[in-house]
Amino acid sequence: MDKLDKLLRAAKPSVPDLPEGFSRSVMNQIEQEKLVIRAVPAAAHSRLFFIIGFFALVASLLLFNYNSYELRMNGSLELLFFGLKFFGDFISLLPWDLIVPSLALSTLSAWMLWKSGFLKIGITGLTIVSFLFTGIGGTAIAATGFNEQIEAGIIEREGQMPWLTLFHNTRAREFIHHPNFKMGKVETVINGKALIVTPHGDKISIQIPSSSQVKVGQVLRLSGEGSATEFIAQNVHICNPNRVNRYFNHMAHHEKMMKSCCMGKGKK
């Protein structure tokens, strides 16, 4: 490296002088373009930006958490078990009315935190950190059963937190209704026909394909054709009960909440 050091030092290019009156021409440019010294935001202003930005980030985290929760609870993820067959339906079931505001809030919070001047890292880094924080944080919390605990708490303290109750009644309230997809717990099996109970509590008779065998107590994920009461299954998946029981518990909570808080007027 010493050789390179010497070569680099020896290669130092000489620099021509600036033209006469360079500073005068810059001053003229400043005059002509009417450039002014920009006002610096006051410290209190910056602090306000930082505080609002921080709370926007927390709000964004909550929204992301609900995105994940709603996505988990509406059963749309189950559609993906059949490959790309129901992908269009899956996309339409994404909670865009929550996703768009949460993305907007994340961006706003990143911009405000950057604008506050309290953080020295670049806006790109900050934006990425915000998205990771809100996205991963929200998803992680949703995966812990935290939301279910909140929901249970709301049911116990009915009427004490009306805004939270309202939110829970209007969000994540439905398990997917799809003409070619059904899911439910097997109650009885007779002559190749099974009676399943959906997370909504509805009973549907299923014609099971001859190649499949099901038992009472299993939770099935089915694709096929049929009506609201009779369904001819073409594909049958047997689900992991530990994973899918959350739908049944969730819908049961909802039914209870609807009855207690909304006098049974809520959408089933």
């Binding site: 390179l4 680099l8 290019p13 021509p16 360079f22 500073s23 005068r24 006002a39």
Partner: protein, 212 residues
């Protein structure tokens, strides 16, 4: 009667108090240094360096209100120059303009034959290699070797840590070595440079050797 010259901080206070003329004083203090840095960083392109220097001082003027007088003015202006140079390079790379043409290379100031033709050849080779490496590495080599800035000063200009500066310089030198190797076409570029120098200084001796 000579007035004692004002410090940078005093000049800033004065400019902010609407004494615009003091900005010319501040500019004259730094303009040649900034131009020199930009000239060396922007491929010895005088026109580009002049334009960017002008933009730098317009930006300095506009943002003077946010300058913290506790920090060195020089590093602050260099940082603005660094940002403006980066903007300039982005613009020309979008337009796919070449940085320098052959005439520009042959007219590099200081190409005086009496200084030693071989030295001049080496210098051109190094400058060509500098043009080929990543701009972020070229900038750090310009600041370190041509502008002779310390690690601390470079860290302030690039808004990074001194450790990062050390790492960047090490990587920049590695990339320079690779580029020089590929330009000369042999593994030991230093030997090549020495060989070329001898070829230029003693052409007849080597030509007779090659013939035999």
């Amino acid at each position: 009667m000579n007035k004692p010259s004002k410090s940078d901080a005093e000049l800033v206070v004065s400019i902010l108090a609407a004494n615009k003329d003091d900005f010319a004083v501040l500019m004259e203090r730094y303009q040649q240094r900034i131009f020199s840095y930009l000239y060396r960083f922007l491929y010895q392109n005088k026109e580009a360096a002049l334009d960017v220097t002008q933009n730098v001082f317009s930006k300095v003027y506009e943002n003077l209100g946010s300058f913290d007088t506790k920090f060195p003015m020089q590093s602050w202006i260099y940082r603005i120059a660094h940002n403006e140079a980066a903007n300039y390079l982005r613009t020309i790379s979008r337009r796919k303009e070449s940085h320098m043409d052959d005439d520009q290379w042959s007219s590099i100031p200081g190409s005086d034959l009496s200084n030693g033709y071989e030295q001049e050849e080496n210098r051109k080779l190094v400058l060509r290699a500098l043009e080929k490496i990543d701009p972020k590495y070229r900038e750090i080599l310009v600041l370190s070797y041509f502008e002779e800035k310390s690690y601390k000063e470079i860290a302030e200009i690039l808004d990074t840590s001194t450790n990062t500066v050390g790492t960047l310089i090490r990587r920049a030198k590695k990339q320079m070595e690779k580029t020089l190797n590929s330009m000369v076409g042999r593994a030991d570029w230093f030997t090549q440079i020495i060989f070329r120098s001898f070829l230029i200084v003693f052409p007849t001796h080597f030509q007779s050797k090659l013939r035999s």
